[in-house]
């Protein structure tokens, strides 16, 4: 791993009795794209504001390149930030918006002209210098805000739900562009969003937050494959979550009894002991609904309860026994026969595709 840029050490922020951020510790590395992901009220925006300096810490400390920034007001922290509504200065043209941070730093005219030009080129907005913000589309305003936040080469770029105001199509397009620009410039980025798909698409690492606390930090694939708890499992991607009692622990398989009769075999992970209640998680795309049994482990008879055709995907809900329902997603192929509601199928959920969650 590369060098640590920002160290967040046991940081808390309380408003009276309410903890908005509760004992969060997190390292941000040089050049990485780290996302704070959580539902609204999870404290992710407050965490961003604490790093920016708009809110004061109740406890803990934040270091940038090894130095505490506690004594520095926001304007001295050398941090770039893109706000949710872009916060472009409505009375200034694009050029002057982007030049603003350079002027605040007393840069020479020639340097300003050159840096603004470079920055606007990086966000593909050359030729828009003389426009006012209100003459630009949402996506273009977004890019001006990005150019303005990057033009003075801040140590880190903070982004607070920057794509939330855009419609779905533009948002997806901007995600691709944002990632490309970030990779091109190699700027360390801390990104805040509640949109797990956006987090998965953009991030090198994701930090999941819940009720002011950090739940799990990891690469998108790790988070998806090995969520630490039920919350992350459900919040990142879609999950089938069931719980049961561990009945046998072998070298290669752990057996969990779910409900009265169902026996689920899963690959062991962590310390799982016989007699413990555990959670079990499997992604819908890892479950298969077959027409007949093939003799593999974890095959159960089931009844199709719901079928939704989405074009590229077919989603089903299959009922197994009395108490368990599993969501099943599979790619749709042309002229394929899709399952019908009420049809009896064989559900297959391979042991190595399950994740055992220590606490149910």
């Amino acid at each position: 791993m590369s060098r640590v840029l920002v160290e967040v050490r046991h940081v808390s922020k309380r408003y009276g009795a309410v903890s908005a951020v509760d004992d969060v510790s997190l390292d941000i590395y040089e050049g990485e794209f780290l996302t704070l992901l959580g539902p609204s009220g999870s404290g992710k925006t407050t965490a961003l504001m604490l790093i920016a300096g708009f809110e004061e810490l109740t406890a803990g400390e934040i270091l940038i390149r090894g130095r505490s920034i506690a004594a520095l007001p926001p304007e001295k922290r050398d941090i770039g930030m893109v706000f949710q509504n872009y916060a472009l200065f409505p009375h200034l043209r694009v050029f002057d918006n982007v030049a603003f941070p350079l002027r605040m730093r007393g840069a020479a005219r020639s340097e300003i002209a050159q840096r603004v030009r470079e920055s606007l080129r990086a966000v593909r907005l050359e030729g828009f210098e003389q426009r006012l913000p209100r003459q630009l589309s949402g996506g273009q305003q977004q890019r001006v805000a990005l150019a303005r936040a990057l033009v003075y080469r801040p140590s880190i770029l903070l982004m607070d739900e920057p794509l939330a105001a855009l419609d779905k199509k533009l948002r997806e397009q901007m995600q691709v562009e944002l990632k490309a620009i970030q990779r091109e410039l190699g700027v360390s980025t801390l990104y805040v969003t509640h949109d797990q798909k956006e987090a998965l698409a953009l991030s090198d690492r994701i930090a999941v937050m819940k009720a002011g606390r950090l739940v799990q930090v990891g690469a998108p694939i790790d988070l998806y494959d090995r969520p630490a708890d039920r919350f992350t499992a459900e919040f990142v991607g879609e999950a089938n979550l069931i719980e049961g009692l561990v009945t046998a622990v072998g070298d290669r398989l752990v057996h969990v009894r779910v409900g009265e009769r169902l026996d689920v075999a899963a690959e062991p992970c962590g310390d799982v002991t016989v007699g413990r209640r555990v959670g079990l998680m499997i992604r819908p795309e890892a479950v298969e609904a077959r027409e007949r049994p093939e003799g593999t482990p974890n095959e159960w008879p089931g009844v199709v309860r719901e079928v939704v055709f989405l074009g590229d995907l077919v989603r089903c809900v299959v009922r197994i026994g009395d108490s368990v329902s599993l969501k099943v997603v599979r790619q749709y192929q042309k002229d394929e026969v899709t399952p019908k509601v009420g049809q009896t199928v064989t559900v297959a959920a391979p042991p190595r595709r399950w994740t055992i969650l220590p606490s149910p």
Binding site: F54, P73, M81, A87, A149
Partner: protein, 275 residues
């Protein structure tokens, strides 16, 4: 235009248009006719342009109004800024304090100023008592007195538009300016102040145009030494009984006022002020 918007227009704007036509536009038209004299001509206006007294009073009226406007703006801006920074409850209290004078008659307020500003008034007693000045200052029956009185009366007209425009500035613009490296003075001069200019301009126009027509306050606090345009017209109507001349003066003032508002509209766009 289809029937529906037309009917809407008539219902919503009709009553006030009728009122304005009846009580304002009609007398105004009579005034125009009167100012042209009989037989109609521009002779009265010609005489006005060569009337030294009229020109002196015109310049004085504009000077007083301009000074009052500048003082009002300078005094109003900090108050308006304060209003945006305090809690809503304190802001409500300050707003009431700002508006309170509106519920007191202008005549009463001007008399109150006479009590305060006269030779043996409260202000002079305080100044002399504290040893700040040796002899009582002349605070009345001069332009200073008129200015003091008019500033106090017109101040709310400056505070409210400036407050409204400051209030409309998105708080996140200040945060953005700050994180981009602007200190508090730079944030004020580069972001807050330029964005509040429509409000400042609206305040200026409201105070200045009203100031041009002021009568009670200059008459009582200025007396015969500080004659303004409105006072000159009054004497033409009541003492000299030269109604055509008074009408012509009124028309000149009206045209100038309309000109100021129109050029203001041209430069800034009135609709931007109210939005």
């Amino acid at each position: 235009m289809t029937g529906r918007p037309l009917r809407q227009w008539l219902v919503l704007a009709g009553p006030s248009v009728l009122l304005l036509l009846g009580v304002y536009l009609y007398p105004l038209a009579k005034l125009v006719v009167l100012s042209l004299g009989a037989p109609p001509g521009l002779a009265t206006y010609g005489r006005l342009l060569h009337n030294d007294l009229f020109l002196t009073v015109l310049v004085r009226t504009f000077r007083i109004s301009a000074v009052v406007t500048v003082i009002c703006l300078v005094a109003a801006y900090p108050v308006a800024t304060l209003l945006t920074r305090v809690s809503t409850r304190v802001a409500a209290l300050v707003t009431i304090a700002v508006l309170l004078p509106f519920w007191t008659s202008i005549l009463v307020r001007t008399y109150a100023w006479m009590v305060l500003l006269q030779h043996n008034g409260l202000v002079n007693k305080l100044l002399v008592g504290l040893g700040i000045v040796a002899n009582p200052l002349r605070l009345m029956y001069n332009e200073a007195g008129v200015t003091i009185g008019m500033v106090q009366i017109l101040l709310p007209f400056a505070i409210l538009p400036i407050y409204a425009s400051l209030q409309n500035i998105d708080e996140r613009l200040h945060l953005a300016a700050q994180i981009l490296g602007a200190g508090s003075w730079q944030r004020f001069w580069k972001v807050t102040f330029p964005l509040s200019l429509p409000g400042v301009a609206a305040a200026a126009i409201l105070v200045f145009v009203q100031g041009l027509g002021y009568f009670v306050t200059p008459a009582l606090l200025g007396g015969s030494r500080v004659i303004t345009l409105a006072m000159l017209m009054e004497s033409q109507v009541l003492e000299v009984l030269n109604w055509p001349l008074a009408s012509a003066m009124a028309m000149v003032l009206l045209v100038i006022c309309v000109g100021i508002v129109a050029s203001f509209e041209r430069v800034l766009g009135l609709e931007r002020v109210w939005r």
